[in-house]
Symmetry: D4
Subunit: 151 residues, 8 copies
């Protein structure tokens, strides 16, 4: 069980979220990508979230713009770790999606990352870190990745 | 069918949302009040929202703080008008709940009002306005209410 | 009585507000569009607002940028529901029009939607929702519209 | 014609706006104070503004909180100089009243001062400066007032 | 004595401030334009400001970007009315110049207008309004200008 | 290896971060708490971070106020998952610590939670979720915790 | 020549700025404190600034609130290093003084520190650091001060 | 000992930081430029910072974007004066790097300058000012530089 889900609220978020896919490919982590909106497809989101754990996912990365409720809605239906990427697609350029995502109320956590494409990459790296806790080989690939910064 | 629902995300929002109840009492509009969180009680919220229209509600007022997803989640399960009151309960004092509520993405509208207790009153007055469209008597009570401003 | 009014403060807001017109056309709702500024044409705005109900309008959608007072001024002259779209036309890119619109003081509500073209669409959908309260056929068209999200 | 009008949107703004009255008293400028809301008493505001010049006023100071439209509405009905004091009475603590006031669209200016009681004083001093253009005695009293800063 | 001064902090502000010149030309108001920075040319600014009244100026319009101190520095050396236009030239796009200008401390007022080119126009119209207090002909030209809004 | 570290930048953050300790106690997760500042004790922080994995920690929760660099500095020395709680202790009330924490540049992720005490609790719950990926018993305690919301 | 000047805009800033005095006393650095406002006492500020270097000062610390121009005005009259402490005394709680201070235009630098009392302390420590460049004894006292963080 | 270090967090910051190099060249100040990230190369940053003083540096200029920790991390390892330039490279356009840099907690100061390329130039001018304290020739070159503003 070390499959990652990437969900985004709209087709338009694909460019941003592809950075997460790229990282997971580099680390050879299995992942699946879905496009579904918390507001336009709530039952799909609920269905996916409720069954994510038993369907073999261990962590869910959600990218959304505007009043970004996607990660919060997913988190309300699963106790898997939910990672969120606020996307700067509205005229308010990310302040709305950031605050909509990071300020979750008590009891239902969402782990929030940098606004935009940097956040997509970082959320994916965090997913790898999380999987590395009990996976020595993955830890070593992370170490190499980090060492790459100094080359 | 002219019943109003008032939903709030937490017991702590009662003081703020009582201003909405007071207005509806003054206008003799039937209403019911519920406390349920979009994140902590998502199925309750979904159940309520899906059945609201056939249970005789015509409009739903939602009050919530922090990353306030309540109104958005309700709106994703009903085509009734959803009114929202952002509540300034977090350290970011309402900027978070305002942006989380008003910046809804395309297709699923939420009508947002003033942050805090003024918003609770105004959302309720708006509900009365909405009911007044086809109710001459209510229109006249609204006119009197407005005239009261000049006394 | 199910006619919708769309008012905007300036010719420059037409591109944004045409999204509202498109939605109303799709739902076959009768509407009329006006360009008048709360500050440059206050008597026109007043005249329109005072007579809107008896002229057969049931809801008024207002789009404006900068210190957007249009919806508030309209709302001060009518008890019809007033919907507002803050437009990001100033250097402050919508934070000014959003706060000028949503933070209405006690007694005179304005229902505010997303900043920009998404808000124009959502305000129009909300108008349809409002009209659907006592119009079963419209409710069904809204249901189809929503189902379209999952196709 | 050297009378100043002070208008405020609500009884609650009195404490803030009394600083303006105090300055005008110190400079022995005639003034009149009114409480009327742009939204709750629009006709009173309009009536006052349209007749202000012929009623002997030469400048109008407006104090208001929340989405502060008062100065903008007054300015839409007069070509007298309109001075505005944004008041920090809402949960958003003055950012809303500041942006609602200062960001007036093209053609109808409002002169905006500091948020809160400092702004009330400064708007009144500005009114005195404006009257001093053609009043040598007043100019000298302003000079003394300024010299007082160094004592 | 009805000459207006227009000062700007940098050559780069010319495009923005030309809107003020255009308005004054339209109203046939005499004006002079200066480029001098509060920080790079403080003595020039001081010299100008101290002598402005006796040099026949009745009002000073200041446009500046970044931490815009120009209007405040001018105001510290004259009791003439000082009008300010915050310019959105820095990466913070006008929030910095707006707050640097409008939030003047007690005793030394600066009248602030809209950020950017709209503010340049509005500050000039306000200067005309101010001159119209004791100039019936100017008042009538302002009335015609306003009537033009409805044509 | 399922020990959690809680680090905070200052004694003053204890009240906020005790909410994280309480959650870990409730879930019977082993944890250790440290007070060390990224700026005042950089070598301690480095030492701790470099050895955290081999010292049996699987996740590190960091709470800090002002320009909150603590989580970022810890993350630069470990590939363990780093969770961060921005604390609203400065005059800017959390906007500074939030942006300092969540906007991490590419390559070194930090998972950010709600500003203040709600964030402390949510970060701890997230740590439990993360540990639950390969711990069925913990998953069931999380399910009970969630069911508690509906009682 | 190693005397430090501390200037503040108002008596009310004393509590905040005393933290700077305390640090300089601890490091046995000679300093003088002045209260003078950039706007209310511009000639005093100018006089002081122009002569500061020849009067034996090597660095000037300025604390001010609201639209804080003090440091910028001082810097326009001296090429000594000017350090600034934005003070959160206005209703906008420091965002105004921060942006007014830090966003200085090209050519006239001001070194800005944390908003409020922390900034007063840090500006003074920075002054000591600056003096330590050519003062080995002072460098050692700074080292001890830093080591104190780990005790 | 009058060498200046310029450090930036990423290759992408070169365009911005070259303005600092240009100033130092104009004033014939020796400098060295480094690219190293606080998060991706923490040991390099630490090594550099710890040895900067004995390697002949007297001041360190740091430019970084996003959650800009670079200056703070450098400052935690040296008692040399650290100057910081927040860079507007993220979607939040500099508000994040500004607050991450200027709001340093008590005890470890960082002198912050204007966001973006203006800040790079100003930080370098400040470094020259700082070196001028005990260098009469440099003071005179600064005076000429300033006089250039009036030509």
């Amino acid at each position: 069980m070390s499959k990652v889900a990437i969900i985004m609220g709209s087709e338009n978020d694909k460019n941003i979220m592809s950075g997460a896919e790229k990282i997971l490919q580099d680390f050879q982590i299995e992942y699946e990508t879905y496009i579904m909106s918390a507001h336009r497809n709530p039952l799909k989101v609920q269905e996916f979230s409720k069954n994510a754990r038993e369907n073999g996912f261990c962590v869910i990365i959600c990218g959304a713009g505007y009043a970004a409720h996607l990660a919060g809605v997913v988190a309300s239906f699963t106790t898997l770790p939910v990672l969120a990427v606020p996307i700067d697609s509205s005229p308010l350029k990310g302040f709305d999606s950031l605050l909509s995502t990071v300020m979750m109320p008590s009891g239902v956590p969402v782990a929030t990352f940098t606004v935009g494409s940097t956040g997509a990459k970082n959320a994916a790296i965090f997913a790898v870190e999380l999987l590395s806790i009990k996976d020595e080989a993955l830890k070593e690939r992370l170490d190499s990745f980090r060492e790459g910064f100094n080359r």
